[in-house]
């Protein structure tokens, strides 16, 4: 791989995002707005907000980055730009890391804004170190980016790419402990929940909100990072210099 090419791709993705004000708003403002909505809904029962709020901090970066990456990389595949890049001195890893770096950076900003507002303004109680929330959010975002890259190989149109959202992301949201604590799920679903990466991201956020210990958080982050690496590997396998 080449740092020059990786940097070029990351920089280019960021310039594209800067141009696209609506996507930028979705990345940075929407998570905060939804947290505020949730806070309003549970205005009279802050204990529920304290339980669901951290889970949402884990879900947003994953959800949004999955959506944005699957559509943007699909565009690269269908517009011929990926094919052009493959005729140039670019390796697959440069492409993957460039995207992961750009969206990881966006995720860091997103996490900083979301945490500042939910903890600072909306009064979400966090026992653990707040900066670690940011680390978890970045790991989540990279996971979303990696999975988005992977599924984009199986879509022919942007419309199809968006359909992966209910198929890949929503089941994880249902089983991650947001609606029902994971250990109270029926046996089989609890087992399935253990196999899904978002569960560990939400666990990490819940540990951070309920305890000052960081050991379990790091263990969860490691699992999320492992899933992200595996997804990047799968994504790399779908990026072929030579195609039919």
């Amino acid at each position: 791989m080449s740092p020059r090419v990786t940097g070029a791709i990351a920089g280019r993705v960021l310039v594209q995002l800067r141009r696209d004000h609506r996507t930028l708003a979705m990345l940075l403002v929407l998570p905060v707005a939804l947290q505020a909505l949730l806070w309003w809904v549970y205005q009279d029962s802050p204990a529920i907000f304290d339980r669901i709020g951290p889970a949402l901090l884990a879900i947003f970066p994953f959800f949004v980055m999955f959506l944005v990456t699957s559509v943007t990389t699909l565009r690269e595949r269908s517009s011929g730009t990926l094919e052009r890049l493959f005729t140039m001195p670019m390796q697959r890893l440069d492409f993957l890391l460039g995207y992961a770096a750009a969206f990881g950076l966006v995720a860091a900003v997103q996490a900083a804004v979301a945490v500042a507002v939910t903890v600072g303004l909306l009064g979400l109680d966090i026992m653990g170190p707040v900066w670690l929330l940011g680390v978890v959010a970045i790991a989540d975002a990279v996971l979303g980016t990696a999975l988005g890259l992977f599924v984009s190989a199986f879509a022919r149109t942007e419309f199809q790419a968006v359909q992966f959202l209910p198929a890949v992301v929503v089941p994880q949201i249902l089983l991650c402990g947001l609606i029902q604590p994971r250990d109270e799920l029926p046996g089989i679903l609890s087992f399935v929940s253990d196999l899904l990466p978002l569960s560990y991201a939400v666990d990490a956020m819940e540990h951070l909100s309920t305890s000052t210990g960081t050991g379990e958080v790091w263990a969860d982050v490691a699992v999320v990072a492992g899933f992200a690496l595996a997804a990047l590997g799968l994504g790399a396998a779908t990026l072929r210099r030579r195609t039919e």
Partner: protein, 247 residues
């Protein structure tokens, strides 16, 4: 005059041997043996005849069933060629949401070409006034010239252009063909596909293609003479019909 430098007898720029490509169960190219020299070579044929597949094989992004492609003495698509071959697909292959210069700056970085190379290529494709416009807001012809400008970055030894002149106005088309010949005179081999037969006379060498096979490969004048036709369209028809008689 140009025909002399386009001769396929010198060391070929592109050489294919038994090149076979299968897509979706259909054989698109079947055992193609080709030697393409310097100068401007036009690859002409109806849509769907395998032109793009051949060009993609040359730049190394096409999965090949069997056979070999050699470009500038190296196996097609290998690392030593990746900053020596400029390529443009039919879709122009540029980012719609970036400006002309942002596109060029990005591809220049990927190629490892100095940013100083950007202004000259913008001038070459005559987009100086549009340089800060977002590609999405450009006309189809301007967009395709952005794609061409990217292909020109780093002074490649070979340019592979898939239908770069389709849909352009006649003045622009003439200007682009003049540009291709200027580049060829400076030593860049140019391989251009087109489905518009009247572009044939602008090429030094002509490849007439139909259904994955070459009907003819010679100078435009020689192709017409051999087929006993006055224009390339008639020559194409004559070659198809004589081929069908033989079969």
């Amino acid at each position: 005059m140009m025909a002399a430098m386009g001769g396929a007898h010198a060391r070929p720029v592109i050489e294919t041997s038994g090149l076979t490509v299968v897509r979706g169960g259909n054989t698109v190219l079947e055992g193609l043996d080709l030697r393409i020299g310097s100068g401007v070579t036009g690859l002409l044929g109806p849509s769907g005849c395998g032109k793009s597949t051949l060009l993609r094989s040359v730049v190394g992004v096409q999965r090949i069933e069997s056979g070999t492609v050699t470009v500038l003495g190296e196996p097609g698509g290998t690392a030593p060629l990746r900053d020596r071959v400029g390529y443009m697909t039919q879709e122009s292959s540029v980012y719609d949401d970036l400006s002309v210069t942002e596109n060029l700056r990005f591809f220049a970085r990927v190629l490892g070409v100095d940013a100083g190379a950007i202004d000259p290529v913008v001038a070459t494709v005559d987009l100086e006034r549009q340089r800060d416009q977002v590609v999405r807001n450009l006309s189809g012809g301007q967009r395709s010239r952005v794609g061409l400008a990217v292909a020109l970055l780093g002074d490649p030894d070979l340019l592979v252009l898939d239908e770069p002149t389709v849909g352009l106005d006649p003045v622009l088309r003439r200007d682009l063909w003049d540009l291709f010949h200027r580049l060829a005179e400076d030593g860049t081999a140019v391989l251009i596909s087109s489905h518009v037969m009247d572009e044939a006379d602008r090429c030094d060498q002509l490849l007439l293609m139909r259904e994955g096979r070459m009907l003819a490969h010679d100078t435009p004048a020689a192709v017409k003479e051999a087929a006993g036709a006055d224009d390339i369209e008639s020559a194409f028809l004559a070659l198809v019909e004589s081929g069908e008689d033989a079969a």
